[in-house]
Amino acid sequence: MQASFVNFRQSLPRTIWDWLILIFLLFCALFFLMPIYVMVVTGLKQAENVSLSTMWHLPVHLSGGGFYEAWRRLYPNMGNSLQLTIPATILSSILGAINGYIFAKWKFRGANTLFAVLVFGMFIPYQSILIPLIQFLEQIKLYGTIGGLILVHVIYGLPICSLIFRNFFAGIPDELIEAARLDGAGVIRIFLLVMLPLALPAFVVVGIFQFTNIWNDFLFGVTILPNPSAQPVTVALNNLSGSFSVDWNVVMAGAVIVALPTALIYILLGRFFVRGLLAGSVKG
């Protein structure tokens, strides 16, 4: 109580510089929130009231019509995105945990080189593997299916998941493993009973990171699923905004709907979100 009071006192602006900084930050915050404002406000307007000259105004009559119409058009694709994102996130987290554990605790020869080879996979432009990837998916009859897209996200998500888990497991002292081994536990038992329970925070970080990445993906969705009814919601939103028959209030409402799941995760679990983002910067 005392401490937080002192912190609060210290955070009050004292000099003229402090005031200028605060005003500047406030100004920046307005800039950062501006597109959000535009999306929400336009989405809430009636179609006939979306006019070019009053873009910045608040809606005169609040209307749920834009959101209703956008939801009507997008909800099948929302379903696809959920069906795709949730299993892909879970699978890539589990595989990433196993991989990361091996790389952190099993110092076989050439492990570092192999790890670099693995991590490079997360930086490649996916354009450079799309043609053989689609051929491959056609061969195994998964082209154009959500299952195929899940497989793709799991595989190309492995490098980043392994990286985050490796860094996490590397911070767990070897003595713990040694002690468990002396108690007679094998490699698999140590992993399942000692390591996994400890790794819960890492699972949250990886889970959030992967959910956001996969939900926001566009390139794989648009190339692997040519059938509009199977496409994820980012692709559907882009189609919606590209058709001239759709009003701007619907498009903006659609953008808000598509942004909502990851935005909610960010607002509720921001701490973990930042950790995942920093882990992506490949600290050795």
Binding site: M39, F120, S128, P132, F218, V258, F273, V282, G284
Partner: protein, 309 residues
């Protein structure tokens, strides 16, 4: 592991093969082309490809300067831990959680020349003032404007005669500026977070010591803190640099190829050639050039970072 090697490295090799093959139509044809590098030669002769290389270069430079510059500035200002620190930080990072498609759509509407930003200029009275001093009102066409600013072809032509073979204006395409703003809006928060994390590792004693030695608050930052943040800048620049070389969804949703290919980039070129024109060898060739550009940035970085331990 075997999966990764197949899906990354073997697939890259296959793509290279495609780029050297005769597979230029819907019918698959694996036979090598004669001359072998014909697809690359064709591509480098295309004005559109010249525009793409210019655009991705301009975009990378502007976007990196903007997001790293503002990211650092915001991190340093937040470092004072004034009122609302957490709230500000969360607001600045928020766009990072959104899809590039959402960002592209929102900013396309804002940069619509008939409304949005231009309307704001009107509202602030800037145009009235410009007209009153005898100027023309400031009403750029933004994403619809094919103009290229600061073209340096002539200047370069004096030094390198080969410049005349380049079929596009080397400069900053007007339509690229909104795209840079949108991308920086989305990723400045990332740079800021990297710097905030970096600042947290600068020990307070070090700053105290500098203050005791008589350094002003400004000098504490320029002489002590900033040099310690150099590695953060390198990491951030490389991560954002590879994002920028690969940029696709944002531009695809916001402006597409743009007027006169003003916002076309290799990512879109590959997509168009492969999936719309079904010229597979050409698309593959362009994707391999993209891969090389990214590798040029990432490989030295990975090498240095992973060799340390």
């Amino acid at each position: 592991m075997a999966a990764i090697i197949t899906f990354v490295y073997i697939f890259i090799l296959i793509t290279i093969w495609v780029s050297l093959s005769r597979w230029g139509t819907l019918r698959i044809d694996w036979r090598p082309r004669d001359p072998l590098f014909e697809a690359y030669a064709q591509m480098f002769a295309m004005p559109r490809w010249h525009a793409d290389l210019r655009n991705v270069f301009v975009f990378t430079v502007l976007f990196l300067s903007a997001s790293i510059g503002f990211g650092l500035l915001l991190a340093l200002l937040l470092d004072r831990r004034l009122l609302g620190f957490t709230l500000f930080r969360n607001i600045f990072l928020f766009p990072y959680a959104l899809s590039f498609i959402v960002t592209g759509i929102a900013w396309r509407w804002i940069f619509n020349p008939e409304t949005g930003i231009n309307l704001l200029f009107d509202g602030l009275g800037i145009n009235k003032w410009l007209v009153s001093i005898g100027g023309a009102p400031f009403k750029p066409g933004w994403t619809t404007d094919p103009a290229v600013l600061f073209s340096i072809n002539d200047a370069l032509g004096h030094v390198f005669p080969g410049v005349h073979n380049i079929s596009v204006h080397l400069g900053i395409p007007m339509a690229m500026i909104p795209v840079v703003v949108a991308a920086s809006w989305q990723l400045t928060g990332f740079a800021m977070s990297m710097y905030i994390a970096g600042l947290a590792t600068v020990p307070n004693e070090l700053r105290e010591a500098a203050r005791i030695d008589g350094a002003t608050e400004f000098q504490v930052y320029t002489k002590v803190v900033l040099p310690l943040l150099r590695p953060v800048t390198v990491s951030t620049a490389i991560i954002l640099g590879h994002v920028s070389l690969k940029i696709f969804d944002l531009i695809f949703a916001m402006t597409g190829v743009g007027p006169g290919f003003a916002t076309d980039v290799p990512g879109i070129f590959v997509f168009d050639m492969t999936f719309k024109a079904t010229r597979y060898n050409l698309g593959a060739a362009a994707s391999i050039v993209m891969l090389l550009l990214v590798a040029l940035v990432i490989v030295p970085y990975l090498w240095r970072n992973l060799r340390k331990n």
